[in-house]
Amino acid sequence: MSELSSSNSSDGSESQSINDYDDSVEIKSYATSFDLLTSESRPDLRNTKYKSSTDHLNCPICQQPFMEPLTTICGHTFCKECIYECLKMAKSNQQSSGSDSLSGYCPLDRTPIDSANINDLFPTPLLISNLIDDLKVYCLNHERGCEWDGSRWELERHVLIDCGFTGVKCGGVRYENKNAVCQLLIERRFADENHGCSHQVFQCNFCNQELTKMTESDHLENECLFNYQTCELCSNDMIPLKNLSKHQENCSKIGMVKCPAHEIGCKWVGSNETSLEIHQQGNNCQLSHFLPYYHKINDKVDSLTEENRFLQKQINKILDSIVQGKITNLGYNESIEEINKFKTIEDQDKLLYLNFEIDRLKFEFNEKIMPFINKHTMNEQETVINNLTHDNFMMKEDLNLQRVLINSLRKQLQFLLFSRNSARTGAFGTGGMVGSMGAAPNVLLMDDVANELLEASSRSSSEERLNLKL
């Protein structure tokens, strides 16, 4: 039984170790480290360690960079908590039974401050808050080993959600009591996704040592004498990991040389410089020709991931600001509530990304593709035809206009001639002459009449014709 269990430790043997839990492994707690005890607990950012010194950005009361700064009428800035504590203390010292609002004196120059009066105590300009939130800090759990660093505004999210060294409840189910859930604190990196209890004891893969998840890595790296690694230089494969680095030091002292392309996989090992040169000459080592390009690509990828990480953080920051109502809806069609509907950050990111892509594509389409399409389908004949129709239309309008003018002139002419003729001859046959004008058949009738009149008048006087300018 025990031989079987030693070779396949993750299952645990049926008989004993499945029920053994080592509760003695305790999480190391430091003054600054953070444990997620309930879903509501928030890290205390007062204890953060700043990367560089922060002289003018320190609150005079707590001597740390401002947290939610408020400025007084006399021009001094304090953390919100600090100035409220100060006013509370002043109030209790005076034991005045006054109003609910805290009032007191500015700690630096004793100007009277009434916290209810927005002129006395108001929020510091966002510029200052943003400058301070950008200060570089170390993770709260850095004493436990977390090597993260970043801006102060990123810290809370990192510690709450990302940091692998935050203390969380193990939450694992123990088989001895099916309903019991392990409540001990462990670092988040040890938590099991399958909800198994991380305090479960299992045996090391190589030796008989009893381990838990927490002690496993330490054991394998520093204690276990049986996890054999192979030295690349001398092909000795009986070296425990513990001794490997020393052994490799010794090996290289003896003079084992690796090909510089060993990081992409060239396994060549030689014993002196000359053999290395021979190896690299000609076409012996193809990988070393590739090496510079590999480095270039690597660097590019690194800088891209860096950029990507930074942009991701910026987006998170903007999203947080939106949720807090600091920025309005960025111009997207969905309302703010819609955007926040997606529970996970990945969905929000996808949505925004898709929206942005749509806008960008629309824009590109309009700018670049449409003129291109239009240019292709339009050819010369069509343009000529278009121009002609255009001109035709213009001319028709002109014609209409002229027609109207002519009609009105005719009216005038007839009126004049009629009055002249009636004065001369006394009567005239067609009574309907001064009837309706403008309709086409009437115009024809009038034309005939007008011609007669014209001839009549031309017989009489050519001067009049000239006057009429017909």
């Binding site: 003054a31 009361i61 707590c62 001597q63 740390q64 600090c82 203390m89 500015c106 700690p107 630096l108």
Partner: protein
């Protein structure tokens, strides 16, 4: 405060770092505890007719849990510097790494119209007029200057009566600050 740190530990750390350089003339840190909440300083007044070189004045400053919103507990004490502590390097009893010469003299409570014979100090900065902008350094400098500008070799008028009834903690006493001349 057993076990936990002072909520404003970072500020105390900053103040301690700056004070332990002993950059103030005439003021030397003589003792401090691990939590950085209890200190003893030796105050020297130079070239003063009333306060001679043989008189050693020691000021005890105890940081309360409300610091810096509330003032620390400050009083003169009789302190014998030549005491062998656990982490002493030399037998002279100096706590500082750089050699501070312990002067020979008699530890005393200074005679001053605002200093009672039990070591309690009547100073507005320690009571009513304390603000969080004040620090341990400002307290030390104020007291040193208070001694320096004094020329009356007398105790407060109600010294005897006060000492009889006084509580151990000077913060429990409500002083009435009336004298601006000293």
């Amino acid at each position: 405060m057993a076990g936990g740190r002072h909520p404003f530990y970072k500020r105390l750390l900053k103040e301690y770092k700056s004070l332990s350089t002993n950059s103030l003339s005439g003021i030397t840190m003589v003792k401090n505890d691990e939590n950085l909440t209890e200190f003893i300083f030796r105050i020297e007044v130079t070239n003063h007719t009333l306060y001679k070189k043989e008189d050693l004045f020691h000021l005890s400053i105890i940081i309360t849990s409300e610091y810096p919103v509330d003032s620390p507990r400050v009083q003169f004490v009789i302190f014998d510097e030549i005491v062998i502590d656990d982490d002493d390097k030399d037998s002279k009893g100096s706590e500082n790494k750089d050699t501070v010469v312990v002067p020979n003299g008699v530890p005393k409570i200074p005679i001053h119209p605002h200093v009672y014979s039990n070591g309690h100090i009547c100073l507005n900065l320690l009571g009513e007029d304390w603000t969080p902008a004040c620090s341990i350094e400002s307290v030390l400098l104020s007291i040193q200057s208070m001694l320096n500008t004094n020329d009356k070799n007398e105790r407060p008028p109600d010294d005897a009566a006060y000492v009889k009834r006084a509580p151990l903690n000077p913060k429990s006493t409500t002083f009435i600050y009336h004298d601006d001349t000293v």
